[in-house]
């Protein structure tokens, strides 16, 4: 195990994003998110195709918690287990250990990012502040993995930490309501009436400002450790229970991130373009809101330039489950999004203009899928699209 003491980490804020010399930033590669299987890394390896060399690790499914953190007093809570590691005195040693364990469990594969689902970051109670601790621990681990990755020939240039843009729900409360009965001996009875606290939709801007503030310690850790090579990719989750759930929310979020250039930690907070969510699950927003389309993104460069990573799968008319690519939508419906990702990936990063670098990967997402056939189909389809596109780009004069 290799410890990673503070002195190997530069605490200065980078002026520009570092690009490792070995990396080819122009080329996009398919990766597979490990949440396709839920019974530990060996199950993941049994599900993903042999050809898939890049893994985006989902942190963490329950069986993984028991495997990687067997002494955790919270074996059923990824948030608390990861936060405990971050808040311990030897956090960096634990991060190095976690990194070494992950690399060992996924032999001959390269871990290129972490996927998470911790919307608790926007909840009101004190424990929610621990979600930033959990994310900080993942940043520490990312730093260790990057260091290991750099030893190989084809080291990926970046590491992405994908995170959900927060929940709008704020807790549950109740009051008793008196209900009359027909029994004269019991004139009324009390029935609990439950209510759900919710961040006001009309105060979206201030809620998004709060989300960005809560991400500050995570982003600062990422800058400190990764010197611009660890990026945060905020995920749009569809539906009324999530804060970042529409084109309008993305617009406000990116405006907030661009708003103060004296806060360099905002430079590494970007967006994860989840094709399944963006293309197929945000159409329902009221007509007065902009539709999230490739054209809209081209017209809103402050959003486009913050895209640092992408996920892909097909979706139905709701978040019923991740479907294999083209299960419901045709290739022509994916094409504009693929072209957009390729254009974005070929952009040169420029901090001054808030243009963030792109990870170089598109993660295939098949959470708790039924069959390895679905993952294999999506992998082959995406690999073919990327290789066809690369061939066409080469053929151009």
């Amino acid at each position: 195990m290799r410890a990673s003491p503070e002195n190997v980490v530069s605490e200065s804020v980078p002026d520009a994003f570092e690009t490792p010399p070995k990396a080819d930033c122009q080329r996009l590669s398919p990766a597979i998110i490990s949440s396709c299987a839920m019974s530990g890394p060996s199950h993941v390896l049994a599900v993903i195709p042999e050809k898939a060399k890049f893994i985006e690790y989902y942190a963490c499914m329950h069986p993984d918690l028991q495997e990687f953190f067997p002494n955790s007093p919270h074996p059923r809570s990824a948030l608390r287990t990861l936060a405990d590691q971050a808040d311990s005195l030897d956090a960096h040693i634990k991060a190095a250990q976690f990194s070494a364990d992950l690399i060992k469990r996924f032999p001959n594969r390269t871990i290129i990012g972490f996927a998470t689902f911790l919307p608790e970051i926007m909840l009101p109670d004190e424990l929610c502040s621990r979600s930033t601790s959990a994310l900080r621990f993942l940043v520490m681990t990312a730093h260790e993995i990057l260091s290991e990755n750099d030893k190989s020939e084809n080291a990926p240039p970046r590491f992405v930490l994908e995170l959900v843009g927060g929940s709008r729900t704020q807790g549950l409360f109740y009051r008793n309501r008196k209900v009359p009965t027909k029994n004269p001996k019991i004139p009324s009875m009390e029935v609990p009436e439950y209510h759900v606290g919710l961040l006001r939709a009309s105060e979206l801007q201030s809620s998004i400002r709060e989300l960005v503030n809560r991400l500050k310690p995570v982003a600062q850790e990422a800058i400190k450790r990764g010197r611009g090579r660890i990026l945060l990719g905020l995920q749009l989750e569809p539906g009324p229970f999530f804060l970042v759930n529409s084109a309008h929310a993305l617009d406000l979020l990116c405006q907030e991130l661009d708003s103060d250039s004296s806060e360099p930690w905002k430079r590494i907070i970007g967006l994860n373009l989840d094709v399944g969510h963006w293309a197929f699950l945000t159409k329902h927003h009221p007509p007065q809101n902009a539709q999230l389309t490739p054209d809209w993104l081209e017209q809103n460069p402050h959003v486009m330039n913050r895209i640092v990573h992408a996920h892909i799968c097909d979706q139905s008319i709701g978040h019923l489950g991740d479907l294999h690519i083209c299960a419901r939508h045709s290739e022509s419906e994916f094409t504009p999004w693929m072209e957009l990702i390729e254009r974005r990936a070929s952009q040169k990063a420029n901090l001054g203009q808030h243009i963030l670098p792109f990870s170089g990967f598109i993660g295939i997402e098949h959470e708790a899928c039924k069959s390895p056939k679905q993952v294999a189909h999506s992998f082959e389809t995406l690999a073919k699209w990327l290789s066809d596109s690369a061939r066409q780009a080469k053929a151009k004069p």
Binding site: P119, S167, E193, Q374
Partner: protein, 528 residues
């Protein structure tokens, strides 16, 4: 005592299920598999079951978790029914309860800022008794074999693919969605009906979400909270508008001098929609329905009004019109049977038209009151069959059944008892041959004539050349006159408000009529 055993179970998964999950699954499977009849539970009749479970996504669990403020367990445990008859997602309730106690060490959910105490209180996790709640979440089911397709129409959609059940190259099988609403859940019966009805329109609905999200979508954007409560009928209409579907609140108009007409109209309307693959939400008093599948909570207070909503998703194929003698021309009639999903008890519950008709909301002293119907159609279908309204305070407007009475001349009025409506898109014409009017020698001529009718509509009225236009077919026997059989075709996309403009009947609505003379020749007529 029967047993339920699991195969291919992920490690530790069995301990994640709720305390009563096994018994619940056994009863559920028995209900789906049992033969016809059997009005009461018989635990000794439940056979042994052996099912395989795997983790799978669930849109229902995602929403429930967000309300609880935790991020796990957002995957369900899923088992598949034999022969691609569907799948069932199970909530991992014991795990959820454990996660909540771990998440909130003081044993209560967080209390949002801005909420006023002491009127409102913290919710102790124990109060919700989560581990003992209903486990069955989003599921897709085929109708039990006791309701065979040759005798019943089931409202279905091809949904296996949408839930990730169809692998590449595999068939996308069809079924009917179902969900149970737990006590701790974030949506009640009306939301469950909305969820089921939306999923039954996978190509028309703009989106579908979990039960709690349906409630939240209807909340005021300026409020900082919403109540977990049922939906009013107006809210149900509002919800369907937001997902690009059309729902109309329809009522049976009661005439004290012709009480039987109201019963016929109720049955006719319900059958017309369901036989056309359109789900119908019924707002009723569940205590007035047969008790076969009643949940214990309802049985405890049989005298109380129990506001409830169910989704009608099946019906006997015909309105039971049979020739009473060998010459034909006279028909006797028995009641239709309907199948409905009850989110508080069982899918594919069964009731006759009369049983449903008697389940309207009313107190003991009040006159019979029919349940309100909310058929859920694609957005283009505007023309309701019964009287309709949008808001409680509005007076109701006439629907197509009323319009049909006034249309044409008296010779074309169809006999109330020998008439059927059927909704269809021109590109997928109804299988009229299944109707008792068109059997044997009549089948082919009718099909040919319908094709002519459709072509004429496209040409003369510039309807969608792709055949996407929706029409109502009205088929039956005239009350008087020289024709034996009449088929009328109505524009189902016409706005019903037009009906009230003309006391003599609709002017703007197309009505084409195909009629058969006693001499056997077919003639058709236009009126628009």
């Amino acid at each position: 005592m029967s047993t339920l055993s699991f195969t291919d179970l992920p490690t530790g998964a069995e301990t994640e299920l709720g305390h009563k999950a096994k018994a619940e699954i056994q009863r559920f499977l028995w209900h789906l598999a049992r033969g016809a009849g059997g009005d009461t539970w018989d635990d000794t009749a439940i056979p042994d079951y052996d099912i395989g479970l795997r983790y799978a996504p669930s849109v229902i669990l995602r929403g429930e978790l967000q309300v609880c403020g935790v991020s796990a367990p957002r995957f369900a445990l899923r088992f598949e029914l034999n022969d691609k008859r569907g799948f069932v997602n199970l909530r991992r309730l014991k795990l959820l309860e454990d996660v909540l106690f771990d998440r909130y060490p003081d044993g209560s959910f967080p209390f949002p800022s801005g909420v006023v105490e002491p009127e409102f209180k913290k919710v102790p996790i124990n109060l919700l008794n989560i581990a003992n709640d209903d486990s069955i979440a989003d599921s897709i089911l085929s109708a039990p074999s006791r309701y065979p397709k040759r005798a019943f129409h089931h409202v279905t959609a091809k949904l296996a693919n949408d839930f990730g059940e169809a692998c590449p190259g595999e068939e996308n099988y069809e079924g009917t969605p179902y969900v149970r609403t737990p006590v701790f859940g974030v949506g009640l019966c009306a939301q469950a009906c909305c969820f089921v009805s939306t999923l039954l329109h996978p190509t028309s609905a703009s989106h579908v979400c979990g039960l709690g999200e349906i409630t939240a979508l209807l909340a005021d954007p300026n409020t900082h909270e919403f109540e977990i409560a049922g939906l009013s009928q107006e809210q149900i209409l509002q919800y369907f508008e937001s997902v690009n579907l059309h729902a109309t609140w329809q009522l049976v108009k009661q005439n004290p001098y012709q009480p039987l007409n109201a019963a016929h109209h109720f049955e006719e309307c319900l059958h017309a929609y369901v036989a056309s693959n359109i789900p119908v939400i019924l707002c009723l008093d569940i205590n007035r329905l047969p008790r076969i599948n009643m949940s214990p909570s309802f049985l405890e207070q049989p005298e109380e009004l129990a506001h409830h909503a169910v989704t009608v998703i099946g019906c006997s194929r015909w309105l039971h019109l049979w020739p009473a003698n060998s010459e034909g021309g006279h028909y006797s009639r028995s009641e239709s049977v309907f199948l409905f999903h009850d989110s508080s008890s069982m899918p594919f519950s069964e009731a006759t038209a009369g049983q449903l008709a008697g389940a309207g909301m009313r107190t003991v002293q009040e006159h019979p009151n029919y349940p309100h119907l909310i058929p859920v159609t694609p957005a283009e279908v505007k023309m309701p069959l019964l009287n309709w309204k949008r808001r409680e305070e509005e007076s109701d407007q006439g629907g197509l059944i009323e319009a049909s009475v006034h249309a044409f001349d008296k010779h074309c009025r169809l006999q109330l008892r020998n008439r059927e409506f059927l909704l269809a898109q021109l590109k997928s014409l109804p299988r009229l041959r299944l109707l008792p009017f068109f059997t044997g020698d009549n089948t082919q001529p009718v099909s040919d004539r319908l094709d002519e009718l459709v072509e004429g509509a496209r040409h003369n009225l510039h309807w969608d050349q792709d055949g996407n236009h929706w029409v109502w077919f009205e088929v039956g026997m005239p009350r008087t006159g020289s024709w034996l059989t009449v088929i009328k075709m109505w524009d189902a996309e016409a706005e019903p408000a037009l009906l009230s403009d003309d006391e003599h009947g609709p002017r703007e609505i197309l009505c084409s009529m195909l009629a058969k003379d006693p001499d056997g020749s077919w003639r058709w007529h236009w009126n628009h």
